[in-house]
């Protein structure tokens, strides 16, 4: 099994998510849902506390170094991915009964992370990519396994950046998200039947490794054209 695949530790290879079936893929416009729930998440779930932790009342672009902005944009990409994944699962009603609160809560939290990072980055924020979750947002078992992999990856990604952040305020914000991702990872593992805490020390992952894993999922797809009308292939 390649290291650059999104996998769950200590589990058999069939849990590899890189080659999941692409049938039934959804292309959803998430913007409307995001703006509504981002507000909700911010008000109810601590996005405001995140911003307070930054100690930047009106985050000015100049207040964030180029290096920190790159790190934040990397984090934002992961948060876009997680937010879209949970939001789409919630909308699909793929998870039933007691577990229905999982995509609802995590969606709100990850959207709050998205909003907070966007606020700090301002115009420097990367755009939301387009996603194709290839069916994992439509099936409870696939959803849980993907959630485990995403949350483990999120925790490892934030950890990998902790020593690279310049700004103390941003470091405070990053660690405040890092441990929440780890809580989520344990929770998803508990629900999926994996050990929530497999070892005494958690390793981080560098950005290139995280990006390679994300790429291997093929969940991020080419952005749809802003105009639906396709240009003729040959324009002579």
């Amino acid at each position: 099994m390649g290291e650059d695949e999104l996998t769950i530790d200590n589990t058999p290879s069939e849990l590899t998510l890189a080659q999941v079936d692409s049938d039934g893929a959804l292309q959803e416009a998430l913007a409307a849902v995001d703006s509504r729930a981002a507000f909700l998440g911010k008000a109810a779930l601590g996005g405001a506390a995140f911003l307070a932790a930054l100690s930047v009342p009106e985050p000015a672009e100049g207040a964030v170094s180029a290096s920190d902005a790159a790190i934040l944009n990397f984090a934002l990409t992961l948060e876009y991915l997680q937010a879209a994944f949970y939001t789409e699962t919630e909308r699909n009603k793929a998870v039933k009964a007691e577990l229905a609160r999982v995509p609802r809560q995590l969606g709100a939290v990850e959207r709050a992370h998205v909003t907070a990072l966007q606020d700090v980055l301002g115009r420097r924020a990367v755009k939301r990519p387009a996603f194709n979750f290839q069916g994992v947002t439509e099936d409870q078992v696939k959803f849980l396994k993907t959630a485990v992999a995403f949350e483990d990856l999120g925790a490892a990604a934030y950890k990998g950046q902790a020593t690279r952040v310049d700004s103390p305020a941003l470091l405070a914000a990053a660690v405040a998200i890092h441990s929440v991702e780890a809580r989520h990872a344990a929770w998803m593992r508990y629900l999926a039947g994996f050990t929530p805490a497999g070892r005494a020390f958690d390793e981080g992952k560098p950005e290139f490794a995280v990006r390679r894993i994300v790429a291997s999922t093929r969940f991020i797809v080419a952005r749809p054209r802003t105009t639906r009308r396709r240009r003729p292939r040959f324009t002579g």
Binding site: G47, A176, H178, V180, A182, A197, R199, F201, E203
Partner: protein
């Protein structure tokens, strides 16, 4: 201005396994007294913790300050290690709770060993600890375990900005394991494993006050 003590970090007492997860914000205050009454709510007045406090504000990281902070972390790890070891031996735990205690005690022992190794002859000694019902009765154990793991996460997070990069890297490998423990025991207890979008850090002073109120630490 923060509260003297972060109430949401120690909101564990009223929860028993199987009880529905409470909403994050509404009923915390009433839990406070119950949790902290466990140890008799004695203020730990010996000055032992105060002497060991890392600086409360972010100050320039240095190896000397790292050692201070790691010794502060070591106290928490001593408490966790002893707590889970004692509970798994005589806590009348079974099923998920026993599995949790067995796994976690191994992790906390490893954290103690790591910190002692990093500190060398500067490492503080393990204090005398008495946990009372918290290591003898499953309900009290669960409540205390939630409080302890939540406290550890906030304690490490609160020091992140005070550490040199090398020590931060090591601490980051520990804090997410503490967060996993916190999420795990909360899931077992039927509590929300991750009640906030961002984790509130605690200062050393706040952590010390929370530890003191347990009454578990009997000597330095």
């Amino acid at each position: 201005m923060m509260d003297d003590l972060r109430i949401d970090l120690i909101d564990s007492a009223a929860s028993t396994p199987g009880e529905p997860a409470p909403q994050p914000r509404d009923t915390r205050r009433q839990f406070l007294g119950q949790t902290l009454a466990v140890g008799g709510a004695t203020i730990f007045a010996g000055g032992v913790f105060v002497a060991a406090l890392p600086r409360l504000a972010v100050s320039a990281p240095s190896p000397a300050q790292d050692a201070e902070i790691l010794n502060f972390a070591l106290l928490l790890e001593y408490i966790e290690s002893a707590f889970f070891t004692e509970a798994s031996v005589k806590g009348n735990l079974s099923g998920e709770l026993l599995e949790f205690a067995d796994v976690v005690r191994g992790h906390e022992r490893a954290h103690v060993a790591f910190l002692r190794g990093a500190l060398g002859n500067k490492a503080r000694k393990q204090p005398k600890l008495e946990f009372g019902d918290a290591t003898r009765e499953p309900g009290a154990f669960t409540a205390a375990a939630v409080a302890l793991e939540d406290l550890a996460v906030s304690a490490y997070n609160g020091q992140a900005g005070n550490l040199t990069k090398g020590t931060l890297e090591a601490a980051a490998k520990i804090v997410s394991v503490e967060a996993r423990h916190a999420g795990w025991i909360r899931a077992i207890a039927g509590k929300n494993p991750a009640p906030a979008a961002t984790e509130e850090p605690l200062t050393a002073k706040q952590v010390t006050a929370a530890v003191a109120k347990t009454g578990w630490v009997k000597t330095s």
